[in-house]
């Protein structure tokens, strides 16, 4: 597809999605809006992770750390009397800075060191948050009682979701995105053409961490209560990895599709007590199915079906007999 028409299409879909999502509170019930909130949260996490994991090929299994950093920054400052929404830039800044703690020592190395470090560091963060006094320990933090507006939180979440998808589309076609793609495909060849691979890995990690932290802040504001078990959960980190992989790694629509599927499943599973604990089994099965049958995920499956359909439509009808 020509780049220009691609931009027009992305912009049109994004604008339509934004208008619909912002108008939705006028005609949808609170329960449905809650579901949309959950999916928007998942879209942000999946699309932001995809910037690093999909575009640059650096797999992190520790993203709950950034959700937690965002959530705790907001909760702690809100308890000091700061307007929760005013804490978002600081949450982003803290998470971006913290991303360097993992990235600086490991991005220079070749091999799986970064991925391994992300698991260790995120678990360490969870243990610290549960153990020290100022975070409220394992019993967590309750946001100060105040004038909480779901509509405002909902609007912030869907705007952020649409903005992150737009950002990903822009990054993918920018020189920055080309550098990330080059790093993913052949890091030595990228260096040989002047790409400072360590710098761009650190940059995209920080960008992605900042976005995830803002989503974590909005999560804290919405639920009014956070604990290490809710925001630093390792299973949350795993879901963040699985959504883009199941949807279509390194694409724009893939993480959105993955988030829709996971968001929907999460809602269905959590509301039926019999299936409540089966979600890891279901996620694992989906991951295996993707790896075996369609490494490009749901989006790859969709393209394959469309090609197959186009072929069978254009094929001349065989003579009978």
């Amino acid at each position: 597809m020509r780049p220009a028409s691609r931009w027009v299409r992305v912009a049109a879909i994004e604008a339509a999605a934004l208008v619909f999502l912002l108008a939705a509170p006028r005609f949808l019930e609170r329960g449905t809006l809650n579901d949309i909130w959950n999916v928007a949260f998942a879209v942000i996490l999946a699309s932001a992770w995809n910037l690093l994991g999909g575009f640059a090929g650096q797999v992190s299994i520790g993203y709950s750390a950034f959700i937690g950093i965002g959530a705790y920054t907001t909760a702690l400052l809100a308890l000091k009397g700061v307007n929760p929404y005013a804490t978002l830039p600081l949450a982003a800044l803290f998470a971006a800075t913290f991303s360097l703690v993992v990235g600086l020592p490991t991005f220079r190395l070749r091999g799986p060191y970064f991925t391994i470090a992300t698991i260790g560091v995120s678990e360490a963060v969870r243990v610290v948050a549960a153990g020290v006094a100022f975070t409220g320990g394992s019993s967590g933090l309750r946001m100060p009682a105040g004038s909480f507006s779901f509509t405002r939180n909902y609007a912030s979440m869907v705007i952020l979701a649409v903005a992150v998808v737009a950002l990903a589309a822009w990054v993918k076609e920018s020189p920055f995105g080309y550098a990330l793609a080059a790093i993913r495909q052949d890091i030595d060849a990228a260096e040989a053409l002047g790409v400072n691979s360590t710098k761009y890995k650190l940059l995209v990690h920080a960008l992605s961490a900042a976005i995830v932290a803002v989503a974590g802040s909005l999560f804290a504001i919405n639920f009014q209560y956070i604990s290490p078990g809710s925001v630093f959960d390792f299973r949350l980190s795993l879901s963040i990895v699985l959504m883009p992989i199941v949807g279509g790694l390194g694409t724009i629509a893939g993480p959105v599709l993955g988030a829709l599927l996971f968001g929907y499943l999460q809602i269905k599973l959590l509301s039926s007590p019999g299936l409540r604990d089966s979600y890891l089994f279901i996620y694992g099965t989906m991951l295996i199915a993707v790896m075996l049958f369609e490494p490009k995920g749901l989006l790859g499956l969709f393209h394959r079906l469309r090609r197959g359909l186009a072929r069978s439509l254009s094929r001349p009808v065989p003579d009978a007999g």
């Binding site: 020189p175 550098a179 793609a181 040989a192 053409l193 002047g194 790409v195």
Partner: protein, 244 residues
């Protein structure tokens, strides 16, 4: 040499565990030369290029590029200064188009701060290397001849002062080799100093101003092509002792 020395290599040594890949190599390259590097397999030619661009850290020795030491710089920093190499075994970004591959060089090489539009520069280079018709094709779909030209095009897009070509004629047919020789001369004529490793001795003798011969990590000869290829040590390195 009356011309300005653009590259000066002194005592360059690279030791891998138990293997001396480069044993104290010295040579100078003048601005505007085509400087050939030949030698049997395993002579250390590719290791030499890897050390020059910083892809591999030399064990000892110095590399001066326009008078500045570059032997401790990482690869991307050397490219930013204007010294770039191609790979003998082509390394395209297969999931990207030819145009995107080349634009990486334009955006991140030494020409990255130039005012002219990067897209326009990429177009000119695709034209020059005969890849314009394949600009929107995925690099993974190219033939070997096209991939060799893509290696050159990407490196040229970084706007180097020195271009190191590692066996860009390997696997090409005779008419493609003729085209490649013309391309190399035209690159030199546009003001770029060219270092080239080449197995096709006739091609390298045909276009080089001077040639360096390596064998087992040692420099065994250096000079104008006609003198170098008649040097007894060079003949013995290529053909064995009895031929001398």
């Amino acid at each position: 040499m009356p011309a300005e020395t653009i590259l000066s290599v002194q005592g360059l040594t690279k030791r891998y565990e138990g293997l001396l890949a480069l044993a104290g190599i010295d040579f100078d390259v003048a601005r505007g030369e085509i400087f050939g590097v030949i030698g049997p397999n395993g002579a250390g030619k590719t290791t030499l290029f890897s050390c020059l661009v910083g892809a591999v850290a030399p064990t000892s020795g110095t590399i001066l590029f326009r008078g500045d030491r570059i032997d401790r710089l990482p690869n991307h920093a050397v490219v930013a200064r204007g010294l770039v190499r191609t790979h003998q075994i082509v390394r395209p970004f297969r999931d990207m188009t030819v145009r995107q591959n080349v634009s990486i060089g334009a955006h991140f090489g030494s020409g990255r701060r130039r005012k002219e539009d990067a897209g326009q520069r990429v177009g000119q280079i695709l034209e020059k290397t005969g890849l314009i018709g394949k600009a929107e094709a995925l690099a993974g779909t190219l033939t070997i001849g096209e991939l060799k030209r893509l290696e050159i095009a990407r490196a040229l897009a970084t706007e180097p002062e020195i271009l190191c070509l590692d066996e860009v004629m390997g696997g090409l047919n005779p008419s493609e080799i003729m085209d490649a020789m013309k391309l190399i001369v035209s690159i030199r004529d546009s003001g770029v100093t060219v270092l080239m490793i080449e197995h096709h001795v006739h091609a390298v003798v045909g276009v080089s101003d001077r040639i360096l011969v390596l064998n087992f990590g040692q420099k065994i000869s250096e000079g104008i092509p006609s003198a170098v290829i008649s040097h007894p040590e060079v003949i013995s390195a290529y053909l064995g002792e009895e031929a001398v």
